[in-house]
Symmetry: C2
């Protein structure tokens, strides 16, 4: 498997575009389109929030036949809690796109991200749609990547290529993150973020295998990150597979399937980490690695609990190696924990074992917490399960950004 | 029932003291003692964190006979995750106090609050103990209230008086809060904060009734507040009842019992709210009132979810009436929720119904969010259950305090 250029349009048959249609006050790009020449097998994974944006609800309807050919996405407005007219606007986004592309409305998926509760300026989208479609090109991936950003500073995209038999297949994706990030999604039901990720592939893959691959690849990537603990109403990951690589169809339980899952996992983990690195106000990237938990669930719950602790994240911002906050957050995760067996490492430095601190030079620990990339290891000493969660520090910048988000 | 002066020493037979023994860098008071002339029936409620400070573990042992006569508490050091020697130090605090007071070691309860993982400077406590005991007086309540504070700005104390038959009984308490506040305690097992609260009463009350009263009165008070979502390793509420009011013994299921519960509830709710008002970096006090939930559990879970949302609390800090964040946090609480039935009020202003916003003048909403005391009402429209949670805004000041807590 090798990393290639091209992002969302790296796979054969996919085009994209992105432009500014008038939603964002910043006048940055706010409308994106992804399109496949051929109809695709499609799979989606959505937020488990009980308040769901109309695009989440409508996409679930449109995906009942597991087919799609285009994704239209706007940023700057979440079109959530916008009543009946919000649903009409989502359907209009799909129907206008379908008419211009000469495809079926239900083969268009829709995504929105931004402020909740504000009517979507649908006219601006309708007026911009012809140009959006006209701009579709192999080189439009980066514009599409820009059009879905909100408080993100950087585009997030990646693509890989690998062999299935003698045929090269490609998988590419774009994503956005930055705030209201605590994703918990499944393909079957949802779990927390607004994070969006759209992936495309020219692999020929059985529809059930595509859904299984998506399901497997979000757990250790998007569902393992948290920025602020707030689960969004709009989170979604969409994958379109158009089969144009001409490979022998990938089915579950094969070496090729595992390779495809690894490709999705690699891309999703990279994009998930990029979201954390580009998080609102973040100055540090942190991996919380949990080892030797009693169960897989305990491992991820402990990792997420520590990664979600406001106090730990404030300590990170201040470069204060206050590991007591890590112990406290591990203790309230709900996972099995024996304080006498618990070990905590800051970087490679062991700071807690046998229920008490291991004396280390303050300067050494301070140096670990002053780094931009920090790994915390929490060894529960109880079982054989591991998991990692990824997060950032909690900064005065985050508070400033989110105390005036709408202004 | 009337509010009286005197705090922790308002009840007959209780004395208290507080002094600086050398733990705090700030040189503020850091050691407190509460003592009853007569041995007391006693009850305690502790953190449900699986990492528990040695004082929590030792107090559970000392409370097995439901008796106690004194409480010694230090601030500035949590004596948690301090290994075997941490346990020895807790036991030494109890034994030194017992020897000086000429009471049994197991009738002394111990509390610590402050930094986790740092050895307790026990010698300073031992050296200060004789003066601490010598200073015990009816007027020492305010010194004891000061001795348990960490980042709190103000003493927290309250006392009430009411009649049981013809006899006046008194209940008084002191508390501390400020950070790592998300209490979830029970008398039976524990639930989240470091919050400490010590209460004294001269009421004569059956030991089972005392424990039942404590259990009932923490749910809607301490367990209903959150400052930062981090459950402490040291949270505890202790109640001592010495029976010196000479009233007819209070037993469960009587009018007098309900009156006693109401007294505890009144004091605990007042002190819990005071903790939130005095929270680290807080500029606003917020009540999140949930109405018409499907169950009592759904009501409190929804209220706590909204009250814990970092995004909502940043919006409060910025006086930005971004109610979409309230809807999102209600949606991920796990409680039953129908977005089409959900109504949200900012103060008295209805902003959401029928799945979409109710247009209000921006100036009106901005005014609500600019207040120092804000009430948010989340009407789930599903059942008949209500609950309130209390919180504060999330400020740049909070982040600053907690990014350099140990320095």
């Amino acid at each position: 498997m090798k990393v290639i250029h091209g992002g969302i349009t790296a796979a054969t048959g996919f085009k994209a575009s992105g432009l500014y249609c008038g939603i964002k006050v910043s006048k940055k790009k706010d409308l994106s389109l992804i399109y496949s020449e051929k109809i695709c097998d499609a799979a989606g994974s959505f937020t488990t929030n009980k308040v769901q944006a109309s695009c989440v609800v409508v996409n679930k309807e449109h995906l009942k036949d597991h087919k799609a050919q285009a994704i239209i996405a706007n940023s700057g407005n979440a079109n959530c809690m916008t009543g009946e007219s919000g649903f009409e606007n989502t359907r209009t986004m799909a129907s206008v796109t379908a008419r211009l592309l000469k495809i079926r409305k239900k083969d268009v998926l829709v995504a929105s991200t931004g402020v909740i509760g504000k009517p979507l300026p649908i006219k601006k989208i309708i007026e911009a749609a012809p140009q959006l479609v006209g701009d579709l090109s192999k080189k439009g991936g980066e514009h599409a990547a820009a059009g879905i950003l909100t408080t993100d500073r950087l585009n997030k995209e990646m693509a890989v290529e690998f062999l299935v038999g003698a045929k090269s297949v490609r998988v590419g994706a774009i994503a956005k993150g930055a705030g209201m990030i605590h994703p918990q999604m499944t393909v079957h039901g949802p779990k927390h973020a607004t994070m969006l990720c759209f992936a495309t592939t020219d692999a020929l893959i059985a529809p059930t295998a595509l859904r299984a691959a998506l399901d497997r690849s979000i757990g250790k990537s998007f569902n393992a990150i948290t920025i602020d603990g707030d689960m969004s109403t709009n989170d979604m990951v969409l994958v379109l597979a158009n089969g144009m690589a001409g490979n022998k169809k990938i089915i579950e339980g094969t070496k090729e399937f595992r390779l495809f899952v690894r490709a999705l996992e690699t891309i999703f983990l990279h994009l998930a980490k990029e979201m954390v690195r580009d998080a609102e106000g973040a100055t540090k990237f942190v991996e919380v690695a949990v080892k030797n938990a009693s169960s897989a669930e305990d491992a991820i719950n402990t990792a997420r609990s520590v990664a979600s602790s406001n106090l730990f994240k404030c300590a990170l911002f201040g470069s204060d190696p206050n590991w007591g906050r890590i112990a406290a957050a591990a203790g309230y995760s709900g996972a099995h924990l024996d304080p006498w067996k618990l070990c905590i490492y800051l970087g490679k430095e062991l700071v807690l074992k046998n229920g008490g601190r291991v004396k280390q030079k303050a300067a050494v620990l301070n140096r670990v917490f002053a780094q931009k990339n920090i790994k915390i290891t929490v060894d529960l000493g109880l079982g054989k399960y591991s998991a990692s969660a990824y997060t950032c520090d909690f900064s005065t910048g985050y508070v400033r950004i989110n105390s005036a988000y709408r202004t």
